[in-house]
């Protein structure tokens, strides 16, 4: 096999990066909780789904996102369907932002992301509390939302570099 075809295969594999990362993150739940910093946790799937739905929706299919939500529910122990709904709502918000944006700007995306996770989390927690009577710690939730929002900027920057290198020359939506 020539060096060129090997590179091309590797690029094809990297093109599945967002989907692989999504499944790894819901199965592994990497949010650095084990560091035991008070109130520090963040929701990596929210960042990943919002960014890729906004910038290159064909990299992360809605079917995959729905399945990742089901996996997340099973891993965390939530009633089935809750995370899928939350993730799909985030996709909807990202698609809306993509439709109304002419000149993309990271700061605008960042603040719209805050609005999105506040709305998605509100629906999520409303369902958990009202339908399933699950108690939640609101300070932890606020901490989670805050750090998810703050870290979006950093991850968006990293994903931008990845996207520009892996998908260069390919047309977006």
């Amino acid at each position: 096999m020539s060096v060129q075809s090997k590179t091309s295969l590797f690029r094809k594999f990297l093109a599945f990066g967002p989907s692989i990362l999504l499944f790894l993150s819901v199965l592994n739940e990497f949010d650095f909780n084990y560091l035991n910093y008070k109130y520090f946790s963040f929701n990596f799937p929210f960042i990943l789904i919002f960014y890729w739905s906004l910038k290159r929706s064909q990299s992360l299919g809605y079917g995959f996102i729905f399945a990742a939500g089901l996996f997340n529910d099973v891993v965390i122990g939530y009633p089935i369907g809750i995370s899928s709904l939350t993730y799909l709502i985030i996709c909807g918000f990202a698609a809306y932002l993509r439709n109304i944006t002419l000149r993309p700007n990271l700061i605008n995306d960042w603040f719209f992301f805050l609005f999105t996770i506040l709305a998605a989390n509100s629906i999520n927690y409303f369902l958990l509390i009202s339908l399933f009577s699950i108690e939640l710690n609101y300070y932890e939730l606020m901490g989670n939302i805050f750090f998810t929002f703050v870290l979006y900027y950093l991850f968006a920057y990293i994903f931008d570099i990845f996207r520009k290198n892996i998908f260069k020359g390919k047309k977006n939506d």
Partner: protein, 282 residues
């Protein structure tokens, strides 16, 4: 004004209803499907239970493998912290050993007295067969504190079994699959355990706080609870036997929620015991 409203409606319609390029499913279709699943879960629909149980079996195994890197990082962080605190730990151990040596002589006498008194009031309780289970996953999410163990209905695990780390209570079984089960830890916000605080014989409920400690609820305001009082299961409700140690009270003066520090480190569980209790037939 109406033009901007029209733009908004068009953008919303396009975002949710239009099937995008290279997307096999429509967003709104999947949202409705999710809502249907949530409603059926809420109604405890049998088919959903079977589907969930099937997914659980597969996901827990996959998740165990994908969690390996994170567990290795966790172990490394713990190892580094242990190295830094080695000298202070050594000093603490030395003091504890001295104290334990003093207590040891009282314990054997108290044990025999306790056993004699229990027989006298006809309340002797014995353990059923113990099951040792390996912790497959330790979900220390801020919203849910639970562990997945590698024993399920095929090993006769049932909902409500006590989960012990050595002799300390750490949780109870809340979900049973064919070869795996989920245990809700006592630190979870939704965990409520009937307890007794000794000395003083104060009855209370130990509620999880979502952190690595519990809080006492529903006890008489006149109760005399102080630092280092020990929290045991009370046996009320018939789920656990009375007298399983859980933790001890700290900072009772500053903290009217009576913070209870657990004896067991719930973040470091690797093997646990699953136990049911039955009354002995005399």
């Amino acid at each position: 004004m109406s033009a901007s409203r029209d733009d908004f409606v068009i953008a919303i319609r396009s975002a949710f209803l239009k099937k995008e390029n290279k997307q096999r499913f429509s967003l709104v279709g999947l949202i409705f499907f999710s809502i249907t699943l949530i409603i059926l879960s809420n109604l405890n629909f049998a088919a959903i239970k079977f589907v969930k149980s099937g997914i659980n079996e597969i996901i827990y195994r996959i998740s165990f493998i994908t969690s390996i890197p994170e567990r290795e990082i966790q172990k490394s962080v713990k190892l580094i912290n242990e190295h830094f605190s080695m000298y202070s730990d050594y000093k603490n151990m030395e003091n504890r050993i001295k104290k334990l040596e003093n207590d040891k002589y009282n314990t054997s006498f108290l044990k025999s007295e306790n056993s004699r008194l229990k027989r006298l009031i006809d309340e002797y309780i014995t353990e059923s067969e113990e099951l040792v289970a390996k912790v497959l996953l330790d979900k220390d999410s801020p919203f849910l504190k639970s562990i997945i163990v590698n024993k399920g209905s095929k090993d006769n695990v049932i909902i409500g079994m006590a989960v012990l780390d050595e002799n300390y209570l750490v949780g109870k079984i809340v979900e049973v699959n064919y070869s795996t089960s989920r245990a809700l830890l006592i630190s979870d916000l939704n965990s409520k355990i009937p307890v007794i605080i000794e000395p003083g014989n104060t009855q209370s409920i130990l509620s999880g706080s979502g952190k690595n400690h519990g809080e006492l609820q529903y006890f008489k305001s006149s109760s005399d609870i102080s630092n280092n009082n020990i929290v045991f299961t009370s046996g009320s409700g018939g789920i656990f036997k009375a007298g399983i140690p859980i933790g001890k009270i700290i900072n009772s003066e500053e903290n009217k929620n009576y913070k209870t520090i657990f004896f067991s480190n719930l973040n470091q569980l690797t093997f646990v015991k699953l136990v049911t209790y039955e009354k002995e037939n005399n």
